[in-house]
């Protein structure tokens, strides 16, 4: 079923007209409410009237993650707090989180795009959806939740973790749709096997997976182990959360809800727009948001766009699975991790940050983080208990900063290889 056929199957001409009208409004809203972006526009010699249609989009300056941090927490909101009804946050590049606020209308738009996504995936109102994304500051859980309710499906808001209960409810309630990270779905499959639960014992038919990168091979594995269709959903909290784009049953790219979020692909070096079909950095402009609208927000995700009409009948532009990142962000179990966050934790321990190396492994189906820290003299005590205490302190600090556990190992100076004087910070051994 197509939830909003008028817009999802619209002609390019109609879509451009909708986008142009909304873009003009958004630019005005931001120009008059956000001093930092107004300054950027003025520096580029632009006033809102210069933006007459979507064709003028590429004239506008970019927004980056640090703009949100510099305006922490609410400085990028274009409405008074009395209009904000929800706040979410995700990890930022350093200590401070990236904060987003939603008005009532924003929550309705979000529910709309998630509902469309669910319909793309083949979910309908008879379905029982187990939402095993985390509920809380993370947008995954609540984002899926309100979309399901809007569609009229039955939601089980179980949140993440508690695998035994997940499996119990899946059997007892006859869950038909599972929404979680792809790696967690594989973990569930393993636990099912260990508990002697066969896929035939379950009523699962669809999985809505996102919040971390996954491969076509993982898709095949998930589909065969759980006996479901595995659908890729994409989103980021800065733009709205899950539902920015989603695959349809043809699994041939994720349809972008472009009447809400205009996608562009730019060269990450020159920042010049690239023609359709070329791989580059994905940039979004939100055109319906009130809480925190963003113009040309650099996602740092690398992908390409396909404007061909899909076999499902939708004309919404499709984006391919992300090919990687144009920065050093890692996604570990759905959590964004920046090496700079680790550096700031280590800097709290001594005046100069020690050399460190972050090693990411996929152990079975779960990502693990190991941090090697060189014990330079400022760290070195000749008492074992002090070194153990240091190790525990780093472990604890990282856990509370990143929200995931890190195995910390103390190593000798110069253990970590330097290339051209610069230390390599991350080794990602996961096969993506």
């Amino acid at each position: 079923m197509i939830w909003n056929e008028k817009i999802e199957c619209a002609s390019r001409e109609y879509m451009k007209a909708v986008q142009s009208e909304r873009l003009i409004e958004t630019v005005k809203r931001i120009y008059h409410n956000i001093p930092s972006y107004r300054q950027k526009m003025q520096a580029a010699g632009l006033v809102p009237d210069d933006i007459k249609s979507i064709d003028d989009l590429s004239k506008l300056p970019f927004t980056v993650k640090t703009d949100l941090r510099d305006n922490y927490p609410f400085g990028m909101f274009t409405v008074p707090m009395s209009e904000i009804v929800r706040i979410h946050a995700s990890s930022g590049t350093t200590g401070k989180p990236t904060v987003v606020g939603y008005t009532r209308k924003d929550l309705n738009s979000w529910a709309e795009v998630v509902t469309r996504s669910l319909c793309m995936a083949g979910v309908h109102r008879e379905d029982i959806v187990q939402v095993a994304y985390g509920y809380g500051l993370f947008t995954g859980g609540l984002g899926l939740h309100y979309g399901c309710e809007n569609l009229g499906a039955s939601v089980i808001p179980i949140s993440g973790g508690n695998t035994e209960k997940q499996l119990q409810l899946m059997q007892d309630f006859g869950t038909t749709v599972l929404a979680c990270t792809p790696s967690y779905s594989l973990y569930l499959a393993e636990e099912m096997e260990a508990a002697g639960i066969k896929k035939e014992d379950l009523k699962l038919r669809i999985g809505i997976f996102g919040a971390e990168p996954w491969t076509e091979n993982m898709r095949k594995e998930i589909e065969s182990k759980l006996g479901i269709k595995a659908i890729d959903i994409y989103g980021l909290s800065e733009i709205i959360g899950p539902g920015v784009s989603c695959e349809c049953e043809h699994q041939a790219g994720m349809h972008v809800n472009e009447d809400h979020f205009i996608p562009e692909i730019v060269d990450p070096e020159t920042l010049q727009p690239l023609p359709a079909g070329e791989i580059g950095e994905l940039v979004f402009t939100t055109i319906t948001k009130e809480g925190i609208p963003l113009i040309r927000y650099r996602t740092r995700d690398l992908t390409r766009l396909n404007y061909d009409k899909c076999a499902c009948g939708r004309t919404l532009v499709r984006m391919e699975k992300c090919k990687g990142r144009s920065d050093d962000m890692l996604i570990i179990r759905g959590v964004n991790v920046f090496p700079s966050q680790i550096e700031s934790v280590l800097l709290e321990m001594s005046e100069t940050a020690p050399h460190y190396l972050l090693i990411v492994e996929r152990d079975g189906n779960l990502d693990t983080l190991k941090l090697m820290v060189e014990v330079q003299e400022q760290f070195f005590s000749d008492e074992i208990r002090q070194l153990e205490a240091l190790r525990k302190k780093i472990t604890h600090k990282l856990q509370s900063t990143l929200g995931i556990s890190v195995d910390v190992k103390l190593v000798e100076p110069k253990t970590i290889e330097r290339t051209a004087g610069k230390a390599k910070r991350v080794i990602d051994n996961r096969k993506m």
Binding site: V375, F380, D382, I384, L410, E412
Partner: protein, 142 residues
């Protein structure tokens, strides 16, 4: 009375201890006492050497994490109960010992390297009880 002990951070890897001893040997530095404290992942090599400052410099140049730590060395008669008497005195005066190791050169006496939490107090307590402490110059010479 205070002796400069050389401490080196080592990972539990084959050949690391060998490297340290070789560097010191090539520099003509003698080791008179030696101990390794280890955990599952790393160890701390502690030793008394003939020229602590020089050893510190050359190991630092070889990019080891090293430091000098103040310790004292107690000489006990090499007979049953001697160590117990010394430790009894220290615990009676609430001197906490972080770690210790011992070596013996002959049948008459045994030497114990001690790292107390409060080194001045430890020296005072031991001297008040007429315990024999080995001087630094004597120690480096061995």
């Amino acid at each position: 009375m205070i002796i400069k002990q050389l401490s080196v951070f080592l990972e539990n890897k084959t050949g690391r201890l060998n490297e340290v001893t070789q560097i010191l040997g090539n520099a003509g530095i003698n080791m008179s006492a030696f101990s390794v404290a280890d955990t599952s992942e790393f160890g701390i090599l502690r030793m008394i050497v003939s020229e602590p400052e020089k050893a510190l410099t050359i190991l630092r140049e070889a990019e080891f994490s090293v430091r000098l730590t103040d310790v004292i060395c107690l000489s006990c008669p090499n007979e049953p109960g001697a160590l117990a008497r010394a430790l009894n005195i220290l615990s009676g005066e609430s001197v906490f010992i972080e770690y210790l190791y011992a070596y013996s050169m002959d049948n008459k006496s045994a030497n114990i390297v001690l790292k107390p939490d409060n080194i001045q107090k430890c020296i005072e307590v031991l001297q008040a009880h007429k315990m024999e402490l080995i001087s630094a110059s004597e120690m480096y010479k061995i």
